[in-house]
């Protein structure tokens, strides 16, 4: 269990001690590897470490949920660390990068292994902070800084919501551990909605999703780890962990599931219209997490958890492939319109991306098939037909957008000549491992029925998406986007106007208030300070008037004072 502390230690080391580059890479990777072994060795049960201040005991809870998350975090994290070694090899701030990445792993581990919401909150805040650090890693780019700030602010809103939820839970039950809280009685509806807001902020679900596409300004491995495999699933973890609370507030749970379904569908729609390869993947993540939210909200924890695992595999793989593509075109080119025909120069990457695309579309017998269908089948079986419909339609959309991306990037005529190839070994083996997992990862999921209404529907729609994508994009390239030039297209391209709404409702009034305060503050506090000093000086001047220098006046004053004192004594 203590092995899991390795990334935390390494983060601190890398943050403060200057080491040669190869050492940094080796140490960072070793730390995560150690943590992975630790996660493998975890045994179910609780561990209590000791007491902390405010008499909240530090303890860890190991069960299926937490161990699964820990394994995904450290396992996929290890692969991404290895990938980063090559991807970030030329960056001058390698230490800072790996320190941030290790810190993230540590915080995520704390989050999932905590035995109570207070400790979870610490990990929660930690991953938010790590995300901020790493999105804005290239801090000289204004876009990156703005994206980091946006992510952090939205996350903070979620943090406040989570704190309120925790406060409600702890004060109503007097307990700080999960088992204690679930044994007691909490105001379920309020807590459920507050938890949803926190989870929605962290996992980029509607309405708090606007930060995720912008977060693609960070380095690609960061996007792979934090914004695909692990941090965005922290919201799902929250819903899974607090399923007793959700179960006690079925109307709230239903509402949450509906919002998750909305995210699923709308993100799928928005993904189709993106030109930036990473933004496609960002919306894809949002959509897939929507599946997880739908399942977790209505208590289908096993299905949700399985999709968390498989999604980590193929989404990380997709991001890694995107990174290779960007790297190959020199200068971090992200515009799909400028790519094309890359499967000649980047055959392995093309194959891997193809595998991942098939997996995410739910191609039969691949991992995504099992997990996605598990969710959809359970939704239908448990009486949520509308959610089922949302999921099925989105499955078709998934195939459409992912293969649009794939064909635009790898097929057709090359619109830009790639300057690099796939020479880095460190790129290849993590991607190979993930590709393998994406194919066979289904063994981790208990298969439901092999053939059913659900699997048939998703198969049909998936094929339809694939064929449409092929017809539009495989040979014709960006011309195929002509159907987006209408009103539908502009709606999708503007991402349904969420950003604009938030700008008008929140950002601009907030900035106006801040400007107002900044203008008035010197007058107010400055005036206050000056006023105090002036009145003190005035008082001193008045006192000074009493120093006349005349001895007799002084004597008179003393006498009068003595008389008053005597009178006071006499009266008492």
């Amino acid at each position: 269990m203590a092995l899991l502390a390795a990334p935390l230690v390494m983060a601190l080391v890398l943050a403060w001690i200057r080491l040669p580059r190869s050492v940094v890479v080796g140490l960072a990777n070793a730390a995560v590897a150690i943590a992975f072994i630790g996660a493998l060795l975890l045994r179910h049960g609780d561990t209590v470490v000791g007491t902390w201040l405010l008499s909240v005991p530090i303890g860890f809870q190991v069960d299926t949920i937490s161990q699964t998350f820990a394994l995904v975090t450290t396992g996929v994290g290890l692969l991404i660390h290895a990938y980063s070694a090559a991807y970030m090899a030329h960056d001058r701030d390698l230490s800072r990068y790996f320190a941030g990445l290790n810190f993230f792993i540590a915080a995520m581990l704390l989050l999932v292994l905590a035995d109570g919401p207070v400790l979870l909150l610490i990990g929660w805040a930690g991953v938010g902070f790590a995300s901020y650090l790493l999105i804005g890693f290239w801090y000289e780019r204004p876009a990156a800084v703005a994206a980091a700030r946006k992510a952090f602010l939205i996350n903070t809103a979620g943090d406040v919501s989570l704190m309120l939820a925790i406060a409600l839970m702890v004060t109503s039950t007097g307990q700080t551990t999960y088992s204690g809280i679930f044994a007691g009685h909490v105001p379920a509806v309020a807590v459920a909605w507050l938890l949803f807001f926190a989870a929605a902020a962290k996992s980029a679900q509607i309405p708090l999703h606007t930060w995720l596409p912008d977060a693609m300004e960070g380095p690609t491995p960061v996007s792979a780890l934090i914004h695909a495999a692990t941090m965005v699933t922290a919201g799902v973890y929250l819903l899974l962990r607090f399923h007793p609370v959700l179960a006690a507030a079925p109307s709230a749970a239903e509402g949450i599931a509906i919002l998750g379904g909305a995210s699923c569908l709308l993100a799928g729609l928005m993904a189709i219209a993106q030109r930036d390869i990473k933004r496609v993947l960002a919306f894809s993540t949002m959509s897939q997490v929507g599946y997880m939210f739908m399942a977790a909200a209505v208590g289908l924890g096993a299905a949700a958890l399985s999709h968390v695992v498989t999604h980590a595999f193929f989404k990380a793989l997709l991001f890694m492939g995107a990174g290779v593509v960007m790297h190959a075109l020199g200068g971090d080119e992200r515009d799909l319109y400028k790519m094309g025909g890359l499967r000649q120069k980047l055959p392995a990457t093309s194959a891997a991306m193809g595998v991942a695309a098939l997996a995410i579309s739910g191609f039969p017998l691949m991992s995504g098939y099992f997990s996605k269908d598990a969710i959809l089948e359970s939704l239908l079986a448990n009486g949520h037909p509308w959610l089922w419909a949302l999921g099925v339609v989105t499955a078709g959309l998934t195939a459409l957008y992912i293969f649009r991306m794939y064909f635009l990037a790898f097929w057709g005529k090359p619109r830009t000549q790639p300057s690099h190839g796939e020479s880095w070994l460190s790129f290849r083996w993590p991607m190979a491992v993930l590709a393998l997992l994406a194919i066979v990862g289904g063994v981790f999921v208990r298969p439901f029925a092999w053939f059913s209404l659900t699997s048939g529907a998703t198969l049909v729609l998936g094929l339809a998406g694939f064929i449409i994508a092929y017809r539009l994009y495989a040979l014709r390239g960006p011309v195929g986007d002509a159907w987006l030039d209408g009103e539908v297209g502009s709606l999708l391209r503007s991402e349904f106007g969420f950003d604009a709404i938030y700008q008008a409702l929140i950002v601009r009034p907030g900035a106006a208030i801040a400007a107002l305060i900044a203008a008035g503050d010197p007058a107010a506090t400055g005036g206050l300070a000056t006023g105090i000093s002036r009145s003190a000086a005035a008082f001193a001047e008045w006192l000074r008037g009493w120093q006349s220098g005349l001895v007799r006046t002084y004597a008179l004053t003393i006498l009068v004072g003595a008389v008053l004192a005597l009178l006071w004594v006499a009266v008492r």
């Binding site: 007799r552 006046t553 008179l556 006498l559 009068v560 003595a562 008389v563 005597l566 009178l567 004594v569 006499a570």
Partner: protein, 161 residues
């Protein structure tokens, strides 16, 4: 009765001090006041103190005053006695208030305690001084030393060329 006479004498002499124009006259009135006070001490079984009063106060201190007066020459009091009217009136009023206040404080009209015969003798006062009140005595001696030093410094021949 004795007290009334002696008290009146003391008050009259004090008034003479503050009302006389010539400072030398003031000194003389003060000597008279001190003698009256010493007489009152005698009626209060404080023989030693009466003696000390005459020797130290009336003798040494007043002689000192006369020396200084002679050194300074006759001072011309710039103005009449009551220089600024408001000040004088205020002073008188304050003084009256003081009298009244103190008078109000004297609540105990108890009988005089019985005292041994040698109450105010040199011996008994000496025993008190060198016994329980030794520390104040020594400190007073220290204060006198300080006074001597300061007087010499202040009034000594000026060092200016």
């Amino acid at each position: 009765m004795t007290l009334a006479l002696l008290g009146a004498a003391a008050v009259a002499a004090a008034l003479g001090v503050i009302l006389a124009r010539n400072p030398v006259h003031c000194v003389l009135w003060l000597i008279a006041h001190l003698v009256a006070t010493a007489a009152i001490f005698l009626t209060l079984n404080a023989e030693f103190l009466a003696l000390v009063e005459i020797l130290v106060n009336a003798g040494a201190v007043m002689v000192l005053f006369l020396f200084v007066l002679s050194l300074l020459g006759s001072s011309k009091e710039p103005e009449g006695l009551f220089g600024r009217r408001g000040e004088s009136v205020g002073a008188l009023v304050a003084a009256l208030a003081f009298v009244g206040a103190v008078a109000a404080l004297s609540g105990s009209s108890m009988a005089a305690a019985a005292v041994p015969a040698a109450f105010g003798s040199v011996q008994s006062v000496g025993v008190a001084l060198f016994g329980p009140h030794l520390l104040p005595f020594e400190l007073t001696a220290l204060a006198l030393a300080v006074a001597v030093v300061s007087v010499v410094t202040l009034a000594g021949r000026s060092r200016q060329p």
